[in-house]
Structure formats: C-alpha cells, structure tokens
C-alpha cells in the first residue's frame, strides 16, 4: 500500500461543552475515493472544515504528506494542495463564470500579485479556465454572472472551481445536493474522472446511497463526532452498527 496522502490524528474540536468532532484518526490514500457518511449533525462538514482550515482543531493534527497543516490558514492549505468544494454554493456571485474559474486557476499559478499587466494578457490563465468550463459544460454561461446561473449550474461551477485548483486532495461536500437528475450525472462523471487518477485522493460527503455505491472505494461513518466504522463499502453498509445509527436517528427525528 502507498503511504497516506492525508492523515487526521486524534482530530478534535469543541464548541464550549459540545464536542463536534471527537478524536477522529484516519488516513487517506492516493487513488482512493472515501465517502464519509453519517446522520445529520454527525460532524461530517465540521470534519471537512477542520481539514480544509475553515475551523482550527482544539487538539489533534491534520497532516498532508510531511506537512503539518493543523494551524494553517485555509489559503495556505489550498496552496499545499488541499482543495474543497462547499455544500452550500459558495461562489463569487457578481463575477462571471469564467472569472470565477480564472480566479481559482490564478491562485494555483501564483499570479494573484501581478498588478500591472491586464488579466486578459495572461492567456494561459484564460485557456486553463476555459478548459474547466468545457469539462463542466458551462461554456455557454461563461460570461454570465455566477448568481444568474440556475442552481444545478451553480453546483457545477462549485465543482469547476475545485477542479481548477488542481489539488492533490479533493474534498466534495454533497456535490449533487439539490441537483436535478439530469445534472447530477455530469458532476458524478467528473468525480469519477478525478478518481481514475492514481495520484489524487478524493473525500466525499454524500447521502444518496446510489452515489455512494457507484463511487466509493471505502466508507467511513461518523456519528456524534466519532469515527464509528471504516471499511469497504459492502462491509460497512451491511454492518449492524451502521444500520443502528441510521435507524436510531430516524426514530429520534420522528419522535
């Protein structure tokens, strides 16, 4: 087995008395797509936030390769190759679709500090951005402001931003949430393509079981902030403990 690309070691965050993520230790490997499941409030998004830096851990570590990311700002983690797409669409609403993507390309290329040459002369940036526009089938909308896109296309743009960052670690937080059936396959195809690259690590939070079945190499289950199960999809999905968790919350919710 190759060495892990990303490790979380005893990762914990407390909000006052509430422990949202509790001592989660897990290693992720290149070429592997791990789906993170768990009931609402299990700490999946919080776990993501700890890895990509929107939150800083109370204790424990986030390590990518040899680098300790635990105390780094999100921008530093992004430059170290940890890329994240958000659950709630999180774009630059008044900028055009092309400009949204170009910003992600430009961040990776390190051109953000260029202040005297006009953007349009950086043809490489625009070409790269157009490449991701095509990949996500958004070329038609290139010159519309992001806010003017229908929801499904905004979700695709969210994915396009992540792809344009060309990270080593791809983190998708419910990428198909609220998407119509004809849009979802586009996004899932893109994720499948990324997964096919043996140097990339993919983390995916997802509820839809057909998506999980189609893509997962491995499933981890979070429950009340703790790592409850970790293993091959078939094994985890059939285990009694996972059924209890899902059924348990289902009854709690109806109660």
């Amino acid at each position: 087995m190759p060495s892990p690309s990303l490790i979380t070691r005893d990762l914990t965050i407390r909000f006052g008395g509430h422990v949202a993520v509790n001592q989660v230790s897990c290693a992720f490997y290149p070429g592997e797509l791990t789906v993170i499941v768990g009931p609402n409030g299990a700490g999946k998004t919080t776990y993501f936030n700890l890895i990509s830096g929107q939150l800083t851990a109370t204790s424990g570590q986030v390590i990518k390769g040899e680098v300790d990311l635990t105390r780094m700002a999100p921008s530093a983690r992004a430059r170290h190759g940890v890329g994240r797409a958000f659950q709630l669409t999180n774009l630059f609403p008044q900028l055009t679709v092309l400009e949204n993507i170009r910003l992600a390309v430009q961040a990776r290329a390190g051109d953000g500090w260029r202040l005297l040459r006009p953007v349009h002369r950086f043809t490489k940036l625009t070409q790269d951005a157009e490449h991701y526009l095509e990949a996500t089938r958004l070329t038609r909308a290139a010159h519309l402001p992001a806010a003017a896109l229908p929801h499904g296309d905004q979700r695709k743009l969210e994915v396009a931003l992540l792809m344009a960052m060309e990270p080593d670690i791809y983190m998708f937080d419910e990428p198909t949430a609220g998407m119509s059936l004809d849009h979802a396959p586009d996004v899932l195809d893109l994720i499948a393509q990324i997964k096919a690259d043996p140097s990339k690590t993919v983390l995916l939070v997802e509820h839809k079981m057909d998506v999980v079945r189609a893509l997962a190499d491995r499933i981890i289950v979070l429950h009340n902030g703790e790592l409850l199960a970790d293993g091959a999809p078939a094994e985890v999905m059939d285990s009694q403990i996972v059924r209890d968790v899902y059924l348990g919350t289902a009854t709690e919710e109806t109660a």
């Binding site: 990509s52 830096g53 929107q54 700002a73 999100p74 921008s75 530093a76 992004a78 430059r79 994240r84 958000f86 999180n90 774009l91 630059f92 609403p93 008044q94 900028l95 055009t96 400009e99 170009r102 910003l103 992600a104 430009q106 961040a107 990776r108 051109d111 953000g112 500090w113 260029r114 202040l115 005297l116 040459r117 006009p118 953007v119 349009h120 950086f122 940036l125 010159h143 519309l144 402001p145 931003l161 960052m165």
Partner: protein, 357 residues
C-alpha cells in the same frame, strides 16, 4: 464585470473621455481663475476618490481614514516647503515622507485590524483619523495648527514665471492664455493625476484586481481557493493610502496652503464618500463622474441658484426657495434623488443598461 459589452458602458467611457479632454484643455477653454481652481480640484479629487474606490468598491473595505493619508502627503510637502524653501528637493522629500508615513500607518492599522469585522475596522480607521486631525491642530509649531501653513511652491509654478516670451520680452500667449507658471502648475496637477489614475486603472485590470473583487464578493471563498486575504487587504489599503498621499502632495503644491480644512477634515471624508456613492462603486469611471459632479455642484450650485432666484424674482415663493443660501438644501435633495434613481451610482447603473447581443 458582466457589464463589459453594454451600450451603457460605452456611454460611460465616452463621457469619461470627454471629461478628460475638457480637463486637458481646461486652461484654454475656461479662461478664468475660478474655473482653473475647479478643474485642478476635480483632477485631484478624481485620484482621491478612485483610490478610495479601490478600498470600498473593489475590495469591500470601509475606511474613514482616507483624508488622513491625503493629509500626510499634503502636510509632508507643506512642512518641507516651509522649512526648506521652495525647491524640488523639498517637494520630493515631502512626497516621500508623506508616502512613507502613510505606508507605515496603513500597514500597522491593516495588520492589526483587517482581520476583525468590517465594522470594527471602520471604527479603528475613524479613531486613527481623529488622532491625526487632533495632532495636526495641536502640533502647531510644525503644522500651523488650525491656521495651517502657507508657503511658496517651486519657482516654475509662480504666476510671474514666463514659460515662453514673445519679441517684447513679455509672457507669450497661446489662444489668449498666458504661458506662465500658473499654467505649468495646472499641467503638473493634471498629468500627475492622470498618471496616478492610469496606474490604478491598470491595477484593477490586472490579476490583482480580480483578487480584490473576489475578496469583496466572497472573502471566505477567496481564502479557500488559496488567496491570503489579509495580505491582499493590507496591500490594497497601503496602495490606496500611498496614492491618496501623493494626491495630497500635489494639492498642497497647487494651493500653496495646507490646513486641516483643505486636507484632513471629516467634511472632505464625507465628500469622498458621496462622490464614490454617486459616481458608482467598483468602477474607476465612477470616481471621475462623482468627483466632477460634486466639485462642480460645490462651486457652481450657488451661482446657478442665484441666477435662478433672480430669474424667478416676480413669482411668489420660488425666489425664496432658490435663494443661494439654500444651496446645501438643494444639494441634499439632489443626492437623495441620485441615490434613489441610480442605486449603483451613476456609472454603475448606466453600465448595466443597453445590453448588446
């Protein structure tokens, strides 16, 4: 921006070019002292407002310290010219000193407080600017206190200076305009302002400009794709401070007087805010339109109303309403109407109109 290809954008750019041409030929087109005063003030306020727009319009930073940086540049030149006499060395020293002080203060304020919420940042800039204003009036041995400082500009700009002489040894005239030091001073103001404005235009069109807009649009996302938001914000705060400071130096040379009321006062800060809001935030063109309209209104609305009051002298009530003393009242009403009908400022609103296929 999405408004790239509208007829409105074309109209705004044409208007800006016309304004630029009028300013370029102002000494020849409007041959009186007051008009030249207005034209020079417009040039400087375009730069000042554009540099403020870098903060509020492009990056979404609200600062109330912009006149402080303007004042640093003005007082730098004023004190240097006063102490060293009217020379270019004094101007250079004053300009550099103003920019250095501005950069130091902007970096300190930026690094200490650009991490906090926008409202706290605005309050901190307000406090800093108040301190600067108090210091300027208290340190009267350097700054002249409330009275300010008068001094002489470099000899080139003296009205008695002859740029060209005719056969009789008198100052030459071109289209009836004396080619004297006053003209040189105006073109010094015009071309310095133009250079600074073009520099800012260049910056907002560069990749850095996109990052600034990204920060304004969604700070957390800009951070998540890999931009160090605090560093960019501090940088743009410093850049706009440096430009404001240079504008202050130019203004000080033009006026040959620097005091709290010409550079540091909060009245000017409010003028800048109004200009940027009326002109339109987040487009450099807005600074041009806003500065022109506001400065013109400040100088000419009174005259216009005086004329209107006389013209309506026989009609009841109207002359009273239009009395020149009520010009601020009418200015206020005009502002309210402008904001109501042009919610994104004049340029911002016009640039959205007339989409082209």
């Amino acid at each position: 921006m999405q408004s790239k290809s509208t007829y409105g954008t074309l109209a705004v750019k044409t208007a800006v070019l016309v304004i630029a041409a009028l300013l370029l030929f102002a000494p020849f087109l409007f041959q009186d002292v007051r008009a030249l005063e207005v034209a020079a003030r417009i040039c400087i306020f375009i730069v000042l407002v554009a540099s403020y727009d870098l903060l509020i319009g492009y990056t979404g930073i609200v600062s109330f310290a912009h006149t402080m940086f303007f004042g640093f540049g003005a007082y730098g030149a004023a004190i240097a010219l006063r102490q060293m006499g009217p020379g270019w060395d004094a101007v250079a020293l004053g300009a550099v000193a103003g920019v250095v002080v501005s950069l130091v203060v902007a970096t300190a304020v930026g690094l200490l407080s650009l991490r906090v919420k926008a409202i706290f940042f605005a309050m901190i800039t307000l406090a800093t600017a108040s301190v600067a204003l108090v210091l300027a009036s208290q340190l009267s041995q350097f700054t002249g206190g409330e009275d300010g400082i008068t001094y002489r500009a470099p000899d080139l700009f003296k009205p008695a200076t002859k740029l060209m002489v005719d056969e009789d040894g008198k100052v030459a005239r071109l289209f009836g305009v004396k080619l004297n030091g006053k003209l040189a001073a105006y073109y010094f103001v015009f071309f310095t302002s133009l250079a600074l404005f073009l520099l800012m235009l260049r910056v907002v069109a560069a990749p850095l400009g996109s990052v600034l807009k990204a920060i304004r649009e969604n700070e957390a996302r800009a951070e998540a794709v890999g931009y160090r938001v605090v560093a960019y914000r501090t940088f743009v705060f410093c850049l706009s401070a440096a430009v404001a400071s240079l504008a202050g130096t130019v203004y000080a040379i033009w006026l040959k007087y620097t005091g709290p009321d010409t550079t540091l006062s909060f009245a000017i800060m409010i003028d800048i805010l109004l200009m940027v809001v009326i002109g339109g935030m987040g487009t450099m063109w807005g600074a041009v339109v806003g500065a022109v309209l506001m400065v013109m209104a400040q100088y000419y609305l009174r005259d216009l109303m005086g004329a209107a009051a006389e013209a309506t002298a026989n009609i009841p009530l109207l002359p009273d309403l239009l009395a020149p003393d009520r010009w601020l009242f009418w200015l206020g009403i005009i502002f309210i109407l402008l904001v109501y009908f042009f919610p994104r400022g004049i340029t911002g609103t016009i640039m959205q109109k007339g989409a082209r296929a």
